[in-house]
Symmetry: none
Subunit: 139 residues, 2 copies
DNA sequence: CCAAAAATCACCCGAACGGATGACGACGGC
DNA sequence: GCCGTCGTCATCCGTTCGGGTGATTTTTGG
């Protein structure tokens, strides 16, 4: 709300500045580039400022404390087998290695991990590991 | 060196653009503010970019609360930039996302991560994260 | 100032991964 | 018996990763 108003006000001020510059331009024909460069500098500076302003604040989200793994697992609908795959993924194993360890095909591991990522709402295995750690699923 | 030249060239081009705009302004009196606003937007965008680009890399990976990591890092010959990539990998980011966050190309991120894996003696990013945690490099 | 280290970027290639889909057998409840 | 869940496996397709090589450009330290 306030931000929008401020933005609008700033925009208006800038437009006014522009017109003013143009008036000057009418009077003196040559220092036009100078004013142009100045304007460029100004807007660049403004850009730097707002850019920094916009991307800086990053408050960390509070994480709920210890919830027994069992609860979380069932809450997410993660099956025992999927949890098993999750643990092995967290050990840094490839799908192939997991398949060999569990005596199943790599395709099966892929299916499990896909459903796992789906249930955990992640898209990459590293994210799955990180989230599982946050959830207390793995130490 | 080259960067300065490029900057100069870009500046010249922009000045030329400005003059061109001004010519248009001579012909049509009304859409002047429009062009001005456009220019403002452009320069603001440029400002955002360069601002982020030049101020980010410095405080970017000010993550580590752990000081004992310094020892391990130097012991392994891991550079600050590589450590930065390591942290972002541990957050589950893809190489592309890391590149966008750090304003470098994906190729660069790949180079860093490759050397990182080499120094950490791992072959996959999940292993790198796990090992980094074991070494106390990341919380 | 110059050499070394660090950072940047590009290209290629093969492997690994993720998503979507379909299928089949086993088990357990209702 | 029937339905739902689980585990298993496959195939296709596109993306991401990891490895290798080579090059240029800061940055830094002596």
């Amino acid at each position: 709300m306030k931000r929008v108003l401020l933005y609008g006000a700033a925009g208006g001020a800038l437009i006014a500045l522009l017109k003013l510059i143009e008036y000057k331009h009418f009077v003196h024909a040559y220092p036009a580039e100078l004013y142009g460069g100045l304007l460029a500098l100004i807007f660049t500076a403004v850009g730097v400022y707002v850019g920094l302003r916009w991307t800086r604040p990053k408050p960390a989200a509070a994480v709920p404390k210890h919830v027994p793994a069992e609860e979380t697992l069932k809450g997410l609908g993660i099956t025992p087998r999927e949890y098993e795959i999750l643990c092995l993924i967290a050990q840094g194993m490839s799908n192939r290695e997991i398949g060999e360890k569990l005596f199943v095909s790599e395709n099966t591991v892929k299916t499990h991990s896909s459903r796992l990522f789906d249930k955990m709402d992640v898209g990459r295995r590293v994210q799955a590991v990180q989230k599982a750690r946050q959830l207390g699923l793995i130490p």
